[in-house]
Subunit: 198 residues, 2 copies
Amino acid sequence: MALKNSQPLDPAYLEKLQDYYAEHKVIPSYSVLATLWGISAKSWVSECVRRFEEAGYLDWTPDRQLKPGARFFERRLAHDPVQAGLPNPALADGYDLVTIDDYLIRVPSRTSLVRVKGESMIDAGIHDGDLIVVEQQPNANVGDIVVAIVDNEFTVKYLDREKGTFVLKPANKAFPVIRPRGRLEIFGVMAGLVRRTR
Amino acid sequence: MALKNSQPLDPAYLEKLQDYYAEHKVIPSYSVLATLWGISAKSWVSECVRRFEEAGYLDWTPDRQLKPGARFFERRLAHDPVQAGLPNPALADGYDLVTIDDYLIRVPSRTSLVRVKGESMIDAGIHDGDLIVVEQQPNANVGDIVVAIVDNEFTVKYLDREKGTFVLKPANKAFPVIRPRGRLEIFGVMAGLVRRTR
DNA sequence: CGGTGCACAGAACGATTGTTCGGTAAGCTA
DNA sequence: TAGCTTACCGAACAATCGTTCTGTGCACCG
C-alpha cells in the first residue's frame, strides 16, 4: 500500500502562526501554539506541526528546535491572475519563496541602506526618497551604479571612465558629470532598491 | 548610589547570534547559545542574555520566550558619510531599525508581490522586472497606482477617471490609456517596490 | 446499523529548559 | 598585601517542554 497522505490543514492555522511570527520573530512553544490555534491538546498541536513540516512550512534546527521552513515566508508572487485574488492560497505553484531581505541582501554585515536625495538618477528609475541597498566595497566596475562619497555626502551615480580617470555620471541630462579631483572614494555598489509608496 | 551599569559585551557574541538567526530564523536555547558562544555554563549565558536584553538587542514574548529585540535587526541606514565605512558599527545614532519586510509590508496576509513586465510605467520609476508590493483590496482611489486584472493578466497602472468610468493610465507616453469595457477588476494597490540589481 | 476514519481531548512521562546559588581565578585598586 | 570586582564554571532544581498512548464523538459509507 502506498504511503498514506495527510489531509491538508486549516490555512488559518498557518496564517495565525505567520502573524505571530511577524510580531515576535520567533516560533512559539506547543502550548502557546495551542492557545493561538484554539486547540486544547498538545498532542494535536504536535500532529499539526508534523503536517506543516511535511508541507515545507516548518522545519527543525540541527538541535531539533522548531523553526520556519522553506515555504514559511513565501509570499504569493503572483504570476497568474486567474484566481489570484482568492482568500485561500491554493497550494499549487505560482509561489516564490523569499523574505524581501533575503532577496536583496547577500552579505548582511557589508550591506547598508542609503536614502536617495534628488532626481539625478531618475532615468535609472531611482527616485528621491528611495532606499538604495548598498554592498560596501572599495572598488567597482565601469557601468556599476555606485554610492560614492563626494564633499562629505553620499552620491549615487553611474561609474564611468574618461581618459583614464573615473567619473560619476548621473542618469538625468539636467545634472552635470562629476569629475572628482584626487581620489574617488567609493562607499559601495548598488545591489538593489526599495521604495515605499504608502 | 546610582544603579550599577553592566559592562558592554563582546560584539562577536551578538554577531554570532545574528548569523545563527539569519540561518535558522529562530533564537536558540541557552545550551545551544553556550556552544555557539564557546561558553560552558548556562548561568553565564543567562547573564549575557540579560545584558543584551538591557541593551535592546533581545526581548521576551508575553510567554517569556526569548526573541529578537528592537535593535536586533537594525541595519545601518547611512545618513552621514563621515566614518560610515567603519567596520565597527558605532553605537551612537544614524541607525534605523527595520527589516525591509517590515518596512514595506503592513498586512502580511493581504500582501502579494507582482513582477512587472514591460516599460509602461517607466515614468513612475517602475521598470521591467521590478517587484511591486501589492496590498490586495477591491477598490482604490484616483491617483493610486493599482494592479488590475485586464485580459487575464496583471497590469500596473495609474487609476484615473474619465467621464464617470475608471481608466488605467500608463506612465509612458508610448502606451495607450486602457479603457476597460465592463467592470474594472482591481487586484490591489501598490504599496512599494523592490528591485534587485545584481 | 455497524464499521472505519478523522479531528480532537486528556493524562502521563522522561527530557530539556532556564534560574539560582556557591565557587574560583585573574585583574585592578589602595 | 588585602579587598573588591569581573568573568566564568558547575551543580541542583522546579517548571516546562514535546512525545506517546489511550480515549471519544462525529461524519461518512456500505
